[in-house]
């Protein structure tokens, strides 16, 4: 850092800025987000308007929900790679069950596999100590297989996405996407859990030092089981919303969002090793990724180059961000 100006004789400005960033890690993220929007506006003047914002938010919400699963699991040092499959299953099931059943019933049926997968993940990670990466990858594969079997049984009956989900997924009221009606309570709940409940406290503590929590009387498997079931149900709900947004059921609907969801959480400052981070950062991370995608889309570039650039930028941002907020 080349800033030499000193405000007080002992603490140079650069260090003070750094300390400030360390205390408020959200600030640099918001700066980056604004910066990206400004760049976008410069490259294509007039693109940033109310419609564009509503649209961006609409597409950021499913990503932010999946990233919520990652944030929660990453706090304990885990990861949930089955969220894509779980969301896809929920979406596919709600569309096919929607043909014969009323919407609420179809939605409830759609969330059953989510519960099962979450239960399996929780038992595997919490009781049998399978590494979360392997465990969730495994259940994800099993889930995909089951979905294919299920597809054959309903192949002739067609699909119908409940109107409510379409309204929720694509609708805009007074310039605000309806999806916010789902997202705001969910986000508030996640942040509340992390900051103000015993369960949230344990997520951080378990990710930080599992032995210490054990000595304090915490039973690891209980925390992990509850966590992965929560994560899966959240992914299932995201699948329902996403179905309403995309409206075309497929067997890999939400899969492309899995790795971005991890990236959003990491960019948002949640440590993949556990113990630090939070959902507010993740939301901004999801917005950053969505804006970045738009930015890369308007560049006249072949798909391959765009992906290379996307990956490189994500890596760069994450590395830079960690350097900024880490105070050492």
């Amino acid at each position: 850092m080349s800033i030499i100006a000193t405000a007080s004789p002992t603490v140079p400005l650069g260090r003070r800025v750094k300390r400030f960033m360390g205390d408020y890690p959200l600030v640099p993220l918001l700066i980056l987000l604004v910066l990206l929007v400004v760049v976008l506006q410069i490259m294509q003047p007039g693109i940033v308007n109310q419609r564009w914002i509503a649209n961006t938010v609409k597409f950021a919400i499913p990503l932010a929900l999946l990233a919520g699963c990652q944030t929660m699991t990453m706090l304990t040092g885990g990861i949930d790679l089955s969220v894509g499959t779980v969301a896809t299953m929920a979406a596919f099931i709600v569309a096919t069950q929607g043909v014969d059943n009323p919407a609420p019933v179809a939605m409830l049926i759609a969330l059953i596999p989510a519960l099962l997968v979450g239960f399996a993940n929780g038992i595997g990670v919490g009781v049998f100590r399978v590494h979360p990466l392997i465990m969730t990858l495994g259940t994800s594969l099993i889930g995909v297989g089951c979905l294919q079997v299920y597809q054959r049984t309903v192949i002739g009956s067609g699909a119908k996405v409940p109107d409510f989900l379409i309204w929720l997924g694509t609708g805009v009221t007074w310039g605000f996407p309806n999806a916010l009606l789902l997202f705001i309570p969910v986000a508030a709940l996640l942040i509340f859990i992390q900051k103000r409940t015993g369960f949230g406290r344990l997520l951080y503590a378990v990710g930080d030092n599992e032995r210490a929590t054990r000595l304090s009387g915490v039973q690891y498997w209980q925390v992990i089981l509850a966590l992965y079931m929560f994560s899966s149900v959240l992914a299932g709900i995201m699948g329902l919303l996403y179905m309403g947004l995309i409206r075309a059921p497929s067997l890999s609907l939400a899969e492309p969002l899995v790795l971005p969801s991890v990236a959003a959480a990491v960019i948002g400052g949640t440590s993949i090793f556990g113990g630090r981070g939070g959902y507010t950062g993740t939301i901004v991370g999801a917005l950053i990724l969505t804006v970045l995608t738009t930015l890369l889309t308007i560049l006249q570039m072949p798909e391959g180059a765009r992906r290379i650039l996307f990956g490189a930028i994500v890596l760069l941002v994450t590395a830079a961000y960690l350097r900024i907020i880490e105070d050492r």
Partner: protein, 501 residues
């Protein structure tokens, strides 16, 4: 050789100069900057300002490799072997010559080391010795020892001090960080005292200099909070106390053979043992981390079988491990660490009553006088304050029994006194404390009785009046109470300690 070290931001204005062939003590209360200075000297962290001169030549010490080239090698407070590699691979990793290493290990009193053992399986104390041997094998100009003897049982500590002394006779220098005055006065030539990141004095070690050093360290004179105060608290304790925990013929694995004793309400029972006599297993069994292979544990007259620490916690038994990193969630705040046991049970997973929690935590913090300037992350606290947090947690939940495993390891004199006082207060409130210590003098400072374990068995239970260092040492080596026979250098130093003016 002169080695100067100027102003640093974390350390404000620190200088230290060490002569060739000198054993130089570096002293200071917790958080005074001793460890920081050592880390800078060995290149583990970088300094912002100031210079390091070795033999009059300025050296840029940016990494441990730089430091090693400049002839500075350190043994840190925590073991630094990689746990999953065997000893030999650990040596290869640091390009340590094997033969000299082997010789030093033998010299240091560990004759039967298997170089193929994974470092993980080597007991903590031996790991420290290996660290030292590794440093010695490189033949450094300046050897830095940070709390080298803190985790060592008396017999190994003796050998270490001996080797250090001989090292200095060959013209090499040693920087020695320790809280034990006994060692400092036996070993060191001069001492540099740090306070709040500043050098506050350099003194020659001569008889009676301890008072002066303590004064420098604390910035003010402290009263010798010793026997007088203890007698006062003791008078209030003791009556017809009930038995809190009764251990009968307890066996754990191969280490703990047959241990029986009672822990009464309102007492602090000291446990004394040489390294690896089964004390770890005893505490683990009482804390519910290990299942005993035989014998019984009764709590309040009822037999219990702990299968998870949660069972012990529910029975009101709290375990404070010796290794602070085992007990703390380092990236979380002081408050969250202290409040951790509150959230443990499933029924407490809901919303936290923040006001209530703050109040409880605050009162625990005040009671232990935890320095909360850096409370956002426990890892930024000094060792002594971290230790206080691990205890505060159980004060906050009002645990009836606290198992303290060497809680004063590597913390400064002032904090030690506070911990003794706290343990006495707890006992006065009717709580019971089981207190293992590797520093024998602590028994008379804090305990009511001393339970001596040797070879996995209780060999003696001494009332506090006669549990002075020589008596405990004899007992810890499995010698009967009235034996007059000398037990080697250790007994001599311990008794000559009192004779010194």
């Amino acid at each position: 050789m002169a080695k100067n070290y100027g102003a640093v931001a974390a350390l404000k204005n620190t200088s230290l100069s060490v002569l060739p062939g000198e054993v130089h003590a570096l002293m200071g209360a917790n958080g005074a900057g001793k460890s920081t200075l050592v880390k800078i000297l060995t290149g583990a962290i970088r300094h912002d300002r100031g210079t390091i001169l070795v033999r009059g030549k300025a050296h840029l010490v940016r990494s441990p490799a730089d430091a090693r080239r400049a002839g500075l090698v350190s043994v840190y407070q925590e073991p630094s072997l990689i746990p999953d590699l065997d000893v030999l691979a650990n040596l290869r990793l640091t390009q340590t010559p094997v033969e000299p290493f082997r010789n030093w290990v033998r010299e240091l009193g560990v004759p039967d080391l298997d170089m193929r053992d994974n470092a993980r399986d080597v007991p903590l104390a031996i790991q420290r010795v290996l660290d030292l041997a590794r440093a010695l094998a490189i033949e450094p100009d300046v050897l830095l020892l940070d709390e080298m003897t803190a985790a060592l049982p008396a017999n190994l500590a003796e050998r270490v001090l001996d080797v250090v002394k001989r090292q200095s006779r060959t013209g090499r220098s040693v920087i020695f960080i320790s809280h034990r005055f006994v060692e400092i006065s036996a070993l060191c030539d001069r001492a540099t005292v740090l306070r709040d990141g500043e050098t506050v004095g350099v003194v020659d070690i001569s008889p009676g200099v301890e008072e002066r050093i303590v004064e420098l360290m604390l910035g003010a004179k402290i009263e010798k909070a010793r026997a007088a105060q203890r007698q006062a608290t003791e008078a209030s304790a003791h009556g017809e106390a009930g038995t809190r925990i009764a251990v009968r013929n307890l066996r754990v694995g191969t280490k703990l053979q047959d241990v029986s004793f009672d822990l009464k309400d309102g007492e602090v029972a000291g446990v004394v043992a040489l390294e690896g006599q089964g004390q770890d297993e005893l505490f683990a069994a009482l804390a519910g981390s290990t299942k005993p292979s035989g014998g019984t544990i009764e709590v309040d007259g009822r037999q219990v079988r702990f299968s998870h620490p949660v069972d012990a916690v529910r029975a009101g038994i709290a375990y404070v491990p010796g290794d602070r990193s085992e007990a703390l969630a380092m990236q979380q705040s002081v408050r969250e660490n202290i409040a951790l046991p509150f959230s443990a049970a499933f029924r407490n997973w809901g919303p936290i009553r923040m006001g209530q929690e703050r109040a409880t935590v605050q009162s625990a913090i005040e009671r232990l006088q935890i320095d909360t300037r850096a409370q956002r992350e426990v890892q930024r606290l000094s060792g002594g304050n971290q230790q206080k947090v691990t205890i505060a947690r159980w004060i906050a939940v009002d645990a009836r029994t606290i198992l303290c495993f060497d809680p004063t390891r590597g913390i400064d004199v002032g904090t030690k006194q506070e911990i003794y006082k706290l343990l006495r207060q707890l006992a006065a409130q009717g709580k019971s404390v089981l207190f293992y210590t590797s520093e024998l003098e602590e028994i008379q400072l804090a305990c009511d009785r001393a339970i001596v374990i040797f070879g996995g068995k209780v060999v003696d239970i001494l009332p506090v009046e006669i549990a002075d260092e020589p008596a405990l040492t004899r007992a810890a080596y499995g010698l009967p109470r009235d034996a007059k026979a000398a037990v080697g250098i250790l007994a001599e130093t311990a008794s000559s300690e009192g004779a010194r003016p």
